[in-house]
Symmetry: D5
Subunit: 97 residues, 10 copies
């Protein structure tokens, strides 16, 4: 099941620099791991923003929530979640004859 997620990140200025580095590093490692596992299907940077647009493939909504909630930067993100489904004009729905 696919979810479209936009994350806008705002790390507080007064966060301890070491903690910040730790958070950002851990977030990146987690993102790479989830991509390799096929869960975090797409991850793009929005031009000019500390934001990403992502597509996740998860078993269900609970898995989606648990994944987002466990992201190291989650406490510093504004998150928008949109459920997706196959589009009737997508190639996958229109196999070549």
């Amino acid at each position: 099941m696919l979810f479209h997620v936009r994350m806008d990140v705002a790390i507080p200025r007064d966060l301890d620099p070491d903690e910040r580095t730790e958070l950002v590093t851990t977030e990146k490692a987690r993102a790479l791991q989830l991509q390799r596992e096929g869960t975090w299907v797409h991850l793009w940077r929005v031009v000019g923003q500390y934001s990403n647009i992502s597509i996740f493939d998860v078993p269900d909504a609970t898995a989606m929530h648990d994944l987002l909630w466990s992201l190291p930067l989650f406490p510093f993100m504004t998150v928008q979640v949109t459920a997706l489904t196959e589009h009737p004009s997508a190639l996958s729905a229109n196999p070549a004859p």
Copy 2:
């Protein structure tokens, strides 16, 4: 170059039914063609809406505009365009060693 586009469709109730069918059919054919050509990279339906979220891979902004402007349903769409770039935590930016 990648663009993230959301299209919300609102076909007027009083559009001639044949014209409507023609528009929707042509739109679908065009979407399939552009997907096969690798330009319309992703096309998802937003759950509960007459809307899609799409990713386009185009040479530049002019190509993006011309493509959207030429869609049969363009006059009946509200369109949001967001420029994307590679995320530093994407797999593509972090090749395995």
Copy 3:
């Protein structure tokens, strides 16, 4: 899987009265059927609005979309869909010892 859906209905004034009656009657029958089947779990009226707030229990997002899209009044609704999951403080997540 649970979805929270708000539907705001706005039937055009110039809709043929018979068509309107037909739509509203069919919508009601469909709502009752889906409630009896356990899919449309809750259905409440918002006070002072031609709107409802509903909870659906569906296999996945595709089922949710197909259900909403097929509602007779769908063309005249503004729909907001929110994915839900179990709350850690819900009774279901905290069985009595």
Copy 4:
């Protein structure tokens, strides 16, 4: 009488950790108690948010206000309250013949 309530929680980063734990623990205990008493009828987590959507069954608006105002996390919540009533297409309004 039924109310639909959405609560978005934002606990300040600089809250004393013990106070935070105390608040969250007390909030959970209170939520469970109110669910067992049949007042807090439904409690769902919104996917990807530190938020819940809840249904309360209370004698009147005053009881609703007092309950919300007395929640341990109330000072850190943004709350939206919507009065509900029975929907004419609900099963409860359409008893089987």
Copy 5:
């Protein structure tokens, strides 16, 4: 139980003039009747708008909904409903010693 309601009226230009007169006359008669019965407690005009701000005293939310839904001009109103309760600094909550 008290509800605060704002009604913004927008009667379509193309409504039949007789029907318009009938609606406005019936609406006024109904408003006067409900005021005399003590249900429509306050009714004020918002300066510069075709709008009113009203206070209703009704048994419960269902009565509030049924009243609003049955107003002759309801189909042409945008309605905002807010549940009220006694304020701890109101005179009624602070009887003179």
Copy 6:
């Protein structure tokens, strides 16, 4: 002359507790005094919010501003002011024959 005012209160967490108590106590005393004088005509709590909806009867707009500006909690309020006038369907405008 009548004004409709909504006040949303947000007292900063780090305000000195004694100062907070003093402010809230003085605010309440002032509200009671103004109600007894017939200036603060109505004062209701909005359900689920640290907010009130009030009706003031003042000689003119300057009196309204001076009253609001002098409230002890004014620096911590978001205030919305709406001028009211008699509604043509109000009882007061339609004396019984």
Copy 7:
């Protein structure tokens, strides 16, 4: 008593041209008359909009409402009304010694 009013005008395309001319002509005559009487104190055009920003000096809110409601173009305006009072830094509040 002073009110600040912004009026955004949107005359429907399908209004009869003669009626439109009549409305606009009458509106202008009324605006000039009210300016000469000292009621419509200021009247400015907003650059690039079919809108004006105006200052009215009226006895009270009821006079303000009646004036606006009686404008020929009122049915085609979106109106925002803001009550004003003397600013403590205005010249009028700070007479030269």
Copy 8:
């Protein structure tokens, strides 16, 4: 050339009281001076807000910007600037015959 400006002031609570007094005093002196010079043509207080609505008569947009930027309270203001022009129904555009 005329500009309509709304300034909403929010002085931080933790500003040094002497600095605050100094800022407010200097702002007032500057406002009076600019009014005497005929640049700050009108200055009104918005009822119930720490806000003003002002009209400035300046040679051009650069003068408008420099004036606003140099106000002592500018760093604590939210400013909205709207360019004005003569209204075709203003007295100034319709000299008596």
Copy 9:
């Protein structure tokens, strides 16, 4: 004097096709003329929208208003006007030594 203007165009579907063609053709001719005269300094298309972002160099606000008001498509545009001035970091404000 420079103004930044965004124009969003929405030509009604039921406009007579000849009138539409006439309007669009005249608009284009006028845009070209004003560009050649140095008044319409820049004119860009917003990607994916029937919109432009433009920079105008005009003597004053009145000239800006008259120009916009006289555009053939003005009745079908939503217009946003923003006054500009030289930026202190612009090359023009920092001549090479």
Copy 10:
């Protein structure tokens, strides 16, 4: 490829004054350099705001993002990015015969 960017700057009050000076000075030097290189094509100040509206000419969206992300004041900016293309009525698209 052209991008339209609006940057609204909000430097925190408690930033160290030397750091602030350093940031603003470096930002200006960078802006001048990018203008001289032909990348930052236009840079205007918005009247009455600590904001600029800019046009950039960059090879692609990635270059646009990297440029904005590397601006010294980027952490203190709200940034809006809009992709532009040639307008069909621009002089460049309509060479003189």
